[in-house]
């Protein structure tokens, strides 16, 4: 699926995102979020009609005339998408590659955030930071972000999550929502993930593909890992081989789920065969119910 097709698919997203907003960024989910609510902005001279309760007595006594503190309501929240663009996502057995599913999900979430007048940013990472889009508001920003999602061409092949987390920790000073979209074919970085989860709301979205779990029953194939370039001989007719492969990835998946649960990271799994919008909706509906 090329980026053009993907873009056209993403164009349809606003319709879905409107519903998603209800479940996701408003209401119940918001209340989980424990922000300060009001944020100090500046002090200015008192003018008639100001609330006397907001007079800053310290400044007033220093200046000799009344001054009031003003607050800015922190309504908007920052949503940061951490999108894995490593080579392992470029694979997929069906119509969509894992990267396509990741892009659609990211676009959905970005749309929802903008719809709700929140700031949205993204960090694209492989074994390096491929692109950093700071959180901002507005439709233009959203369009740029969606464009990036559909057309990014990663330079690195591997995936290094800890590097992306370090980047987010440095740039996201205030609490926000971090959504990590990856296939988790990455070196385990659970420690860094729980550090991030302590500061922000972290949701791990795992993109899976049927080929990741099962070997198709085919004859001899030479299979290459897109990240490491390692080549193995795969003989799908051999039951022992299929079982070994399934067991290996099942163990990996179970470990991932357990670690996420243990560290208080919300996790969801989306398969390339699933409808991403539907999956997201049901995920947030489930969250609401919690």
């Amino acid at each position: 699926m090329d980026s053009l097709q993907l873009l056209s698919r993403i164009r349809n997203i606003p319709l879905v995102s409107a519903r998603l907003v209800e479940g996701f960024l408003s209401g119940n989910y918001r209340s989980v979020f424990k922000g300060p609510g009001l944020e100090f902005d500046e002090v200015r001279e008192y003018s008639t009609g100001d609330d006397v309760r907001s007079i800053d007595w310290n400044v007033t006594s220093r200046m000799g005339s009344p001054y009031v503190k003003t607050f800015r309501e922190e309504r908007e929240m920052a949503l940061l998408l951490m999108i894995d663009v490593s080579a392992s996502l470029q694979t997929g057995s069906g119509t969509y590659r894992k990267a396509d599913t990741a892009a659609i999900i990211s676009a959905l979430l970005a749309h929802s955030a903008v719809h709700n007048n929140d700031r949205v940013g993204a960090v694209f990472f492989s074994d390096r930071i491929e692109k950093w889009v700071p959180p901002m508001k507005g439709r233009n920003h959203l369009m740029r972000l969606v464009q990036d999602m559909a057309s990014i061409e990663p330079k690195g092949r591997g995936s290094d999550l800890s590097c992306a987390i370090a980047c987010v920790e440095q740039s996201m000073k205030r609490r926000g929502i971090c959504i990590l979209v990856s296939d988790f074919r990455i070196p385990p970085a659970y420690r860094q993930m729980s550090m991030l989860a302590r500061k922000h709301d972290l949701i791990a979205v795992k993109i899976t593909d049927p080929a990741d779990r099962k070997v198709p029953e085919t004859g001899l194939m030479e299979v290459q890992d897109p990240e490491s370039g390692m080549i193995i001989k795969s003989f799908g007719f051999s039951p022992g081989y299929r079982k070994d492969y399934e067991d290996f990835w099942l163990a990996d998946h179970i470990f991932w789920q357990r670690e996420c649960r243990r560290r208080g990271i919300d996790s969801m799994v989306i398969d390339t065969e699933d409808d991403p919008a539907r999956a997201l909706l049901s995920f947030f509906r489930r969250r609401k119910g919690k």
């Binding site: 490593s86 030479e222 490491s228 795969s234 007719f237």
Partner: protein, 333 residues
């Protein structure tokens, strides 16, 4: 002998290493299915299909062996056997060797004159494979030992068995020459040569050397005469063939140089004096170079081409690889 008709094609073998590299080891080669099989820089799925890999290794090895066979087949292997055929007839050479007891004189180290003569004759004959060589020996009598022949092996075998004094006690130079000449009279060779090796005076035989030389000259035979031995008293040791006793003593060596010179002159040959082994060898070399004839040689080559077998072998090997991969393991790409 294995040769290649177009050895230039063997250079294709150098392409083998890059092609093996690009089809089996290069990571960017085609026909690979991208499937994420491991966590990056972390645990990776490692299949335990060692037997499969072993079979595939054999299969690929068979394929490349087949390719090698094809390259060899293109290069045109043939097993060539070469055979020299002499088109011109060489010179007839007959050695006339003295085997009188005086040839046992020990002044030609490491042994006596007779053995030294045999040794130089052997060397001479070995170097002339296209000239018929014969041998006449004489003492009191003279006998044809070997008629002129191209069978060098047989000649050398016969030469080995020669013993001193089998023909009595005496020196019948004339008889020796006459017998040699007699056996060369029917020869069609353009040139005929007698090489006479002796150390004594003619003291036996019915034919005097001079007349024998005349006969030879009449038949167009050249005689090279070699006077062998030092002058003066020399130790002597030989076994009497009749009694089997070893007789040792001293012997006053001398020979009729003038006679030998005369024989050489009449027959348009040359006389040489050989007082030592080295001199004798030198003389033989001189004669060898004087009596060289133009050799016209045809080399007959028979060749058997081997490409057919190689091609069949290559087909079998490559088909085996194809069969294993495509039929047994149903390879996808």
């Amino acid at each position: 002998m294995l040769i290649f008709e177009n050895p230039g094609y063997l250079l294709l073998l150098t392409l083998l290493i890059p092609s093996i590299y690009f089809s089996h080891f290069f990571r960017g080669r085609g026909g690979l299915v991208p499937v994420s099989i491991g966590l990056w820089k972390s645990s990776t799925f490692k299949p335990k299909n060692y037997f499969l890999r072993f079979i595939l290794f054999l299969s690929s090895a068979s394929f490349w062996a087949g390719i090698i066979c094809i390259i060899f087949a293109i290069a045109g292997p043939s097993f060539v056997e070469k055979e020299k055929i002499y088109l011109s007839r060489g010179i007839d050479i007959v050695f006339v060797l003295d085997e009188s007891p005086s040839m046992a004189a020990l002044d030609f180290p490491p042994t006596n004159r007779f053995d030294a003569s045999k040794e130089v004759i052997r060397k001479f004959v070995k170097a002339r494979e296209h000239d018929p060589v014969g041998l006449v020996t004489f003492a009191a009598e003279a006998a044809l030992r070997i008629p002129p022949t191209l069978d060098t092996e047989g000649f050398l075998d016969e030469l080995e068995t020669l013993k001193l004094m089998e023909l009595g006690n005496g020196t019948a130079v004339g008889l020796g020459i006459a017998i040699a000449a007699l056996h060369m009279q029917d020869s069609t060779a353009e040139e005929k040569v007698i090489i006479l090796i002796t150390d004594g005076e003619n003291n036996a035989g019915e034919i005097v050397p001079e007349s024998a030389a005349d006969i030879a000259a009449g038949m167009g035979i050249r005689i090279y005469t070699i006077g062998i031995g030092t002058r003066g008293e020399v130790p002597i040791e030989y076994e009497d063939p009749e009694t089997g006793k070893i007789i040792t003593g001293r012997y006053d060596s001398d020979f009729d140089e003038e006679l030998l010179m005369e024989i050489a002159e009449t027959t348009n040959g040359k006389y040489y004096f050989a007082p030592s082994t080295n001199a004798l060898e030198g003389i033989m070399d001189v004669i060898d170079s004087l009596e060289s004839s133009e050799k016209r040689v045809k080399i007959k080559t028979t060749s058997r081409s081997g490409y057919r077998q190689l091609t069949i072998l290559a087909m079998i090997l490559i088909f085996a690889d194809f069969f294993i991969k495509k039929v047994i393991f149903r390879e996808v790409f």
